[in-house]
């Protein structure tokens, strides 16, 4: 029997906010019958469209899936969209006083549904699933696995299965998952070393490594690419290629994404600039 906290039991036996909101501002559906759990989340904003005034859920799943959904709807009420967007799966688990490790995927399901609901509200097209499917049994992609590993500091294959289910079926993808964990750990280790003052050469090598492993694979999904041109003091000069070069709408997102990654993994003072553009129109 699972060791559930009293709060999990309470939210399971007396779930809050079961149902569907009619004409919701946000709606997010994740999971499937085959996977064994699924969640439909709806929320409504107040008249000023500032804060979440109501949230409801429908869940097919075990006790911790129902409790996580119930907790999420409670947490959402009164938050702005921006605040809601910052809720992580850990926050959901924490709200419940913790979840058994094997059940962490229930909190991830909550976070995923919330993300979808916010995307829906913002009127953004539903995000295409990024990456290649690694776990065929549960349809989990490499990008999703990498995200779970990075966000939750996972180090073991079993952890990945507990959080995103990948590897929980036939087991054919275990090697691939291990590779993903290793690649994330490798980057972390490089990052740790970096805290000592890096020479320019070391910085460039590290930049190249991060571009290769973290950034290019994501850009390539949309037919884009990036090259490192130079490192000038704290300015990282890059050139966007392919679809990225002409795609003005996504440039802010791309800049933020690349800069965040580089600041996180190489050095926080670095600023990304696109060559051939004036400084206000950096990539």
């Amino acid at each position: 029997m699972w060791e559930y906290t009293d709060k999990v039991k309470d939210h399971f036996i007396n779930p809050r906010n079961v149902g569907v909101i009619e004409n919701p501002d946000g709606i997010g559906e994740v999971g499937s019958l085959a996977c064994g759990d699924a969640l439909k989340l709806t929320f409504k904003l107040d008249d000023d469209k500032e804060k979440v005034s109501d949230a409801k859920f429908q869940t097919f799943g075990c006790a911790s899936a129902i409790a996580s959904s119930s907790a999420l709807t409670e947490m959402l009420k009164g938050l702005t969209i921006e605040e809601a967007g910052k809720i992580t799966n850990d926050d959901i688990a924490e709200y419940l006083g913790g979840l058994p490790k094997e059940k962490m995927h229930c909190s991830v399901m909550g976070r995923d549904a919330l993300e979808k609901a916010i995307t829906y509200y913002k009127g953004e097209p539903e995000k295409k699933r990024e990456g290649d499917v690694v776990c065929e049994c549960f349809g989990v992609t490499d990008v999703e696995i990498k995200r779970a590993v990075t966000e939750n500091k996972l180090t073991l294959l079993e952890d990945v299965t507990d959080y995103v289910k990948a590897g929980g079926g036939c087991g054919n993808c275990h090697d691939r998952i291990q590779e993903i964990i290793d690649s994330v750990m490798e980057i972390k280790q490089v990052k740790k070393k970096k805290t000592k003052e890096l020479t320019t050469i070391q910085k460039i090598r590290l930049l190249e490594d991060v571009l290769e492993k973290e950034i290019k694979p994501v850009l390539k999904k949309d037919g884009g690419n990036i090259e490192l041109i130079d490192l000038d003091g704290t300015d990282v000069l890059v050139e966007l290629r392919g679809a990225c070069a002409n795609c003005k709408t996504s440039q802010v997102t791309i800049k933020n994404f690349i800069e965040n990654k580089i600041q996180e993994l190489v050095s926080p003072e670095l600023i990304v600039k696109e060559v051939g553009q004036d400084e206000n129109r950096i990539c």
Partner: protein, 387 residues
């Protein structure tokens, strides 16, 4: 709150008569049956009485009974012994619905170079006998097939299989843990070479098992130690539990027939009423060939763990083949082997009854379960779509 225990395929209550028989063997007659003094030696005679009672239940000879610590040890011993004593043979045939006690050992042996054939079942959990017989080859060291399935209660035609394999001179082991004491077993009529049973599934305590090994079968011990069990299983005997096992088998032999009739009536009532009251519920397994006390029902569009924890609130103890209850992410291998769709497999509940269950308890379950399913379905995003 009262407890309504309908999870008897998981474990059973130790019968009060069994406990009574056992009690003197803890602090009063605590001798070691291997000792030379009469205080210990006299215990050996009691142990032999128990052995005879167990042998009687399955119509074996007492010397064909080896005491072990559990059903799993018995299954492990049988398979490993077959491989050890037949070094020229490296093929094992088993089924896709076997208990982990057999499955895990087979997968370990497959890593060590054995070839494993897992015979499939149909949607009712019935074994594909042609597949089984076609799989046999000169390299086959052992066939290991359960007598009755723990999850669905489906009984395999072990009499026919044993005869067929005996005619072909293929070694045959059966995991009869769920069947012994519930259906008649006669190893003189059914020529199995080895058969595993477990105490705690038939109202003896946990921690005692038995392996029947037919006289003349080549055997290699699993636990090496002293000369206990004529060198076939080392380790000082679990005397009190052996005495208890003897008593439990005696009780089973006495009451099996009437119990089977009574328990199956209760089971049928439970099954019929739940199916009537709850739309879109499905019985898993072959109703014609089933253990008297077992029913496995899928309630579509709800998840098993949630059902179990909800009915736990009412003191009802059952189990589920859902992914979440197993700690794995896939629903039960048995239901998957049967091709039960995911919509149903995740919501499967097993009720397993025994002679201690009453009609009042069954009616209590019939009263409590339907509202739980309804409540969970109302929470499920698939329910309205499903209808």
């Amino acid at each position: 709150m009262k407890t309504v225990y309908v999870d008897n395929n998981a474990t059973t209550k130790t019968a009060p008569e069994v406990v009574n028989e056992m009690l003197p063997y803890f602090s009063e007659f605590y001798g070691n049956p291997s000792s030379m003094h009469s205080f210990g030696g006299e215990i050996a005679a009691k142990r032999e009485d128990a052995r005879a009672k167990i042998a009687t239940l399955i119509n074996a000879e007492p010397e064909e009974i080896i005491f072990t610590s559990c059903g799993t040890e018995s299954d492990n011993t049988a398979i490993v012994s077959a491989i050890e004593t037949r070094p020229d043979k490296k093929h094992i045939i088993t089924t896709r619905v076997e208990h982990p006690a057999v499955r895990s050992m087979c997968s370990t042996l497959s890593e060590k170079g054995c070839r494993i054939t897992s015979v499939p079942v149909d949607s009712k959990g019935r074994l594909d006998l042609d597949y089984l017989y076609d799989s046999i080859c000169d390299d086959t060291a052992i066939v290991s097939i359960m007598w009755a399935n723990n999850e669905t209660g489906v009984i395999f035609p072990i009499e026919d299989i044993a005869q067929n394999l005996a005619d072909r001179n293929v070694l045959f082991h059966t995991d009869a843990v769920q069947a012994v004491g519930k259906v008649p077993i006669d190893v003189k009529k059914t020529p199995v070479d080895m058969l595993a049973l477990s105490g705690h599934k038939l109202h003896a305590p946990k921690g005692i098992g038995v392996l029947y090994v037919k006289k003349g079968t080549r055997f290699s011990p699993f636990l090496m130690g002293g000369h206990q069990e004529k060198g076939r299983r080392g380790g000082t005997e679990n005397v009190a539990s052996i005495i208890g096992m003897g008593k439990a088998c005696e009780l089973a032999a006495e009451h099996m027939q009437e119990e089977a009739a009574e328990v199956s009536q209760l089971r049928d009532r439970l099954e019929r009423e739940l199916i009537n009251k709850i739309p879109q519920s499905i019985i898993n397994g072959d109703k014609k060939n089933r253990l008297p006390g077992t029913t496995n029902i899928s309630f579509e569009y709800v998840e098993g763990e949630a059902i179990l924890l909800m009915i736990n609130q009412f003191g009802i103890c059952a189990s589920s083949g859902s992914a979440c209850t197993s700690g794995s992410l896939e629903p039960s291998h048995v239901l998957r082997a049967m091709g039960v769709p995911y919509t149903a497999a995740h919501g499967s509940i097993r009720f397993s009854l025994c002679r201690y269950n009453t009609i009042e308890e069954i009616d209590y379950i019939i009263e409590k379960v339907p509202p739980v399913i309804e409540r969970l379905r109302e929470m499920s995003p698939f329910w309205k779509q499903g209808v």
